[in-house]
């Protein structure tokens, strides 16, 4: 069921994520624009998501805050460019921890046999921004695996 695909062609400014959901597209669409729904699925599992603003219409603002168990808060915001039920949402996305790096996200929903195929396409301002996003969050995981590699190599000398 989890048929997640992430495509990030080298040298491009785009990341395209596709996945199907066992739900009608009206419901999947609603999950992106309804504050109660967003609160329940958006962001990381261990974090609380606070929906500060969500004006789901062209020109409307959105702002979500992720609060981690240790109380750290991370804000994300943007502006809706298009909200066309139940097939398409277009909005900008900016992490407040790295202001000025804005991406344009287009999410489309196509229904087939009661399933919804979602395509989430993000276009970044530069290839460097795109690659930065791909590498985001690697600090902890990479540091850990690097430590293990270091230990391994040190032991082999």
């Amino acid at each position: 069921m989890a048929d997640l695909q992430v495509v990030a062609d080298p040298g491009t400014q785009q990341i395209v994520v596709t996945r199907s959901f066992a739900a009608p597209r009206e419901l999947v669409f609603k999950a992106f624009i309804d504050p109660d729904a967003v609160r329940r699925w958006w962001g990381q599992r261990d974090n609380e998501t606070i929906v500060d603003q969500l004006e789901a219409r062209a020109g409307g603002r959105w702002r979500f805050v992720q609060r981690s168990p240790d109380g750290n808060e991370n804000g994300f915001h943007g502006v809706f460019h298009e909200v066309t039920a139940p097939g398409r949402v277009v909005y900008t996305f900016e992490w407040e921890g790295l202001p000025g790096h804005v991406l344009l996200e287009t999410v489309t929903f196509e229904e087939q046999d009661g399933k919804t195929q979602m395509t989430d396409s993000s276009v970044f301002q530069s290839v460097a921004d795109r690659d930065g996003m791909l590498r985001s969050g690697m600090e902890s995981g990479a540091a850990e695996s690097m430590d293990r590699l270091d230990e391994y190599l040190a032991a082999s000398r």
């Binding site: 069921m1 989890a2 997640l4 992430v6 990030a8 990341i15 994520v17 996945r19 959901f21 066992a22 739900a23 419901l27 999947v28 999950a31 729904a37 329940r40 699925w41 958006w42 962001g43 990381q44 599992r45 979602m118 996003m133 791909l134 590498r135 985001s136 969050g137 690697m138 995981g141 990479a142 695996s145 690097m146 590699l149 270091d150 391994y152 190599l153 082999s156 000398r157």
Partner: protein, 120 residues
């Protein structure tokens, strides 16, 4: 991370003999003769592979004139691991994000979440 070095590293790794040499060096340094032993190819051919690995910075050679032992160098491998790790983490984050949406959609439709056995 320097892209040209990453290119060199991946080019050097894109050969089964060279990967086997690196795997052997993980067990400790070795001479050219020792490294050549498991392979049905000539010593000059092995030397050529070692030169590619050395130019990519994946191995270093000792200075002893007679048996210049080869050993593994960590830095280029670290860069490769960094590069791969970034993609892995992004993929996992995307997976978690949309698994949560999947859970939400099931609940919204009044379905029970799938059993642990079925979960990926």
């Amino acid at each position: 991370m320097r892209t040209d070095r990453l290119n060199d590293t991946f080019a050097a790794l894109a050969d089964p003999t060279r990967r086997a040499i690196l795997a052997r060096l993980m067990a400790g340094e070795a001479s050219v003769t020792e490294l050549a032993e498991p392979f049905p190819i000539s010593l000059p051919a092995i030397s050529k592979h070692l030169k590619v690995l050395e130019q990519a910075g994946l191995i270093a050679r000792g200075r002893e004139a007679q048996w210049r032992p080869c050993r593994l160098e960590a830095d280029p491998l670290r860069e490769v691991a960094d590069w791969v790790e970034g993609y892995r983490r992004f993929w996992e984050q995307s997976q978690e994000r949309y698994d949560r949406l999947d859970d939400y959609l099931r609940e919204a439709q009044g379905e029970e979440p799938p059993d642990d056995q079925e979960a990926p």
